[in-house]
């Protein structure tokens, strides 16, 4: 039997890998993918708890997270496309018109 903390650690590692991706990558699309990684980390945590508690709420929550992730991806990619049309770049280091 695998203890729950193993699953939780796995979720945490993936969550943190995702957040490091957000902090280090320049390409907006990769940043978006890193956020998806973070959400996956959360989902692993939710499902692990659900399994441990023998309660389905966690799984249902995870389903909603997937739905939200889909919505965020759609909106985010649309925003990235609009940005690209306007600025011809998706490099976050070049997108700093607004500052100070």
């Amino acid at each position: 039997m695998i203890p729950i903390s193993h699953y939780l650690t796995l979720g945490a590692i993936i969550f943190i890998i995702g957040s490091i991706g957000v902090l280090t990558r320049k390409n907006a699309i990769i940043i978006l993918m890193s956020i998806e990684l973070m959400l996956n980390g959360v989902n692993i945590t939710l499902v692990a708890f659900s399994y441990h508690l023998a309660d389905l709420t966690g799984q249902i929550f995870a389903i909603f997270v997937v739905a939200v992730a889909a919505g965020e991806a759609a909106v985010g990619l649309a925003i990235i496309i609009a940005l690209f049309r306007c600025r011809a770049t998706v490099n976050v280091d070049e997108i700093q018109l607004l500052k100070w």
Binding site: V92, D93, W100
Partner: protein, 640 residues
């Protein structure tokens, strides 16, 4: 009639509304009429109310008119409304009365200014807030008025914004007053959380029941409130904004920075006398700050050459007197001096304004002289005011200043030192005021030639208020003739319901009446001494050498010797004081206070630009900030 008390602040508010919104489109005459009319009506109502009050038996001279419930939340409750008692009656009379005359004066003075309507709108707005301040029945309304008059003051100091100095002065007033208001606001919040209410009557009733004298919380409250008062009433160490505030139009200086707004601190302390009497430490602080401010700024006044600046330092010094009075527990004496000071200081400023008007904007005393003949109305009225502020017998300043000095000497809260400082200050006051009069109105003209041709007396709209205020400066004092001079001190007995049960000062028919006479005589002597010294230095000396020089050589030698003596005398006594005062001014005013004001502003500005660099525009560093925050918060919970 008393129920119509709400009319008093309402009229100026109507004036603001009309002039503020339509002022640009109305003819100038109408603008002036509306503004003056609004305040005139307030004044009329105030007078009627005052006499109605006078006809009531003393214990019924109180009216609280609750407008509505401001707060009712759990244990906290406050009702907002107006409170009319002898204290606020005196205040509305002074504010609306002096305000009314200054409004009239402004019609002439501001004639031709492009911001005419704006000026009157601000002035009416000021009157509204000031009346609200003195009529409030709770600390919140007081604070409303307090902030409101500060705002108007700020707007009016910077009225001639084209001048950089005016804009700077406005900024300075703003920064310094922030510090004061900061303490004041905290004080009110402390009251609110201590008593659960901010109504005067409830607070003042609960305070003696709940706390014994010397209670720490009351001391904290009163000291915080006093911080606010030092800001608004220009006391040490927050006084420096006031001399700079003279950048505003002169009638504004007269109304706001001499007669009314700056006395708000004194009014507030007197209003909270119940609290102050419970906090002996705070009383000592008030008296000490008042006394020190009085002598300190009077000494600075000795060295100034700008006519309005002298008056400004004089105002600070006189405000110090009022706080001294309050600090020794003689609240009604403080208010009495507040009233007489409002008359003669307004008159002094308006007279100075008339001089400046005549000289097309010249404010330097060294470029005046001999104006006595050119300004036949301004001169005598100005002289009356000078006599009054110097405290010569028979003029209003004599009675009020003397009462404070006597209380400083004799009151249980008083001390010999306070009296000594007070009387030295009185001498200085007399000296610098007569110096001003001699330099401006006597002697030969030192006026620059291009200004000489249009020296003229001001129009009637300006001289009329001068005359009325001069009358008030004379008779104003007779409201409070002390018992020892055979008077009844009616002013004091009028205020006694407010300060009843406390030592209000003046009422005790003192067994040591002879001491009082001695004290009184000494202050008169000091005043006369100041006059003589000024006369010697600014009237006699310039003429004497010239006459003697062409008589005979041996005589001239004598004169030379005398002159020599004068020089030593000058060097030893006058100059050293002058230099000392100047240096003090340099050190304190320019370095410490200006320095710290600028320092604060610079620090804020630099901190601001530095911190805003953090906002680099890079979305990744924003994300890093979030992650750091998250790591720290979780770290707090885990590693603790």
């Amino acid at each position: 009639m008393l129920d119509y008390i709400w009319l008093v602040p309402t009229f100026p508010l109507i004036g603001v509304t009309i002039n503020g919104l339509l002022g640009k489109r109305l003819p100038k005459k109408l603008v002036g009429l509306v503004a003056c009319g609004a305040l005139g009506l307030s004044f009329l109502v105030s007078v009627i109310i005052f006499f109605t009050l006078l006809h009531l038996p003393p214990e019924q001279r109180y009216l609280e008119k609750v407008l509505y419930t401001w707060i009712s939340s759990g244990a906290f409750r406050a009702e907002a409304g107006f409170q009319l008692d002898p204290l606020s009656a005196v205040m509305i009379l002074v504010v609306s009365g002096v305000g009314f005359f200054i409004h009239i004066y402004s019609i002439g003075y501001m004639h031709g200014d492009k911001g005419y309507a704006r000026y009157f709108a601000y002035l009416n707005l000021f009157a509204f807030f000031m009346l609200l301040l003195v009529l409030a029945n709770n600390f919140l309304f007081l604070f409303v008025g307090w902030e409101g008059v500060g705002l108007c003051s700020y707007l009016l100091i910077g009225f001639w914004y084209e001048r950089k100095s005016a804009a700077d002065a406005g900024k300075k007033a703003f920064v310094v007053n922030r510090i004061g208001d900061f303490g004041f606001a905290l004080g009110i919040m402390l009251i609110f959380s201590t008593f659960g209410t901010i109504d005067y009557s409830e607070v003042f009733q609960a305070a003696p029941e709940k706390f014994s004298p010397g209670a720490l919380i009351i001391t904290a409250i009163t000291l915080l409130l006093f911080v606010g008062a030092t800001g608004k009433s220009a006391q040490l160490p927050l006084y420096t904004w006031l001399p700079d505030a003279m950048e505003g139009p002169t009638p504004v200086s007269a109304l706001i920075h001499a007669a009314t707004m700056v006395t708000a601190g004194v009014y507030m302390v007197a209003r909270c006398h119940v609290l102050y009497l419970l906090a002996p430490i705070s009383l000592t602080v008030v008296a000490t700050v008042g006394a020190l401010t009085a002598i300190f700024s009077a000494s600075i006044g000795l060295a100034q050459n700008d006519i309005k600046r002298i008056l400004a330092y004089s105002t600070i010094s006189q405000l110090g007197y009022m706080f001294l009075g309050c600090g020794v527990g003689a609240f009604s004496a403080g208010i009495f001096h507040l009233m007489t000071h409002a008359f003669f200081k307004a008159l002094l400023f308006l007279g100075a304004g008339s001089v400046i008007h005549a000289l097309a904007g010249e404010q330097d005393l060294r470029k005046m002289g001999g104006l006595r003949r050119n300004l036949p109305i301004t001169f005598p009225t100005f002289l009356v005011a000078t006599l009054a502020i110097a405290g010569l017998p028979g003029f209003s300043g004599f009675f009020s200043k003397d009462e404070i000095l006597w209380e400083a000497f004799s009151s249980p809260h008083g001390h010999f030192i306070y009296w000594l400082i007070g009387i030295v200050t009185a001498g200085m006051t007399s000296f610098y005021m007569f110096r001003l009069v001699f330099l401006a109105f006597f002697g030969s003209s030192r006026i620059e030639t291009d200004r000489t041709h249009h020296i003229h007396e001001s129009p009637p709209s300006m001289t009329m208020p001068l005359i009325i205020l001069a009358l008030l400066s004379i008779i104003g004092g007779y409201a409070g003739v002390p018992h020892v001079l055979g008077g009844a001190n009616r002013f004091h007995s009028f205020l006694s319901p407010v300060f009843s049960g406390h030592h209000g000062g003046g009422d005790v028919v003192d067994p040591s009446a002879s001491t009082e006479i001695v004290i009184m005589t000494m202050s008169v002597l000091v005043a006369v001494g100041g006059f003589l010294l000024a006369h010697r230095m600014y009237i006699k000396r310039p003429e004497v050498p010239a006459i003697l020089a062409d008589k005979a050589r041996w005589l001239y030698q004598l004169i030379f010797n005398k002159y020599y003596v004068d020089e030593i005398y000058d060097f030893l006594f006058v100059n050293s004081i002058k230099n000392g005062a100047n240096r003090l001014w340099q050190l304190f005013d320019v370095r410490v206070v200006d320095g710290s004001v600028n320092g604060i502003a610079n620090l804020a500005g630099q901190g601001s630009s530095l911190l805003s660099q953090l906002q680099s525009g890079y979305v990744k560093s924003y994300a890093a900030s979030i992650l750091i925050g998250a790591a720290l918060i979780i770290g707090y919970y885990v590693l603790r």
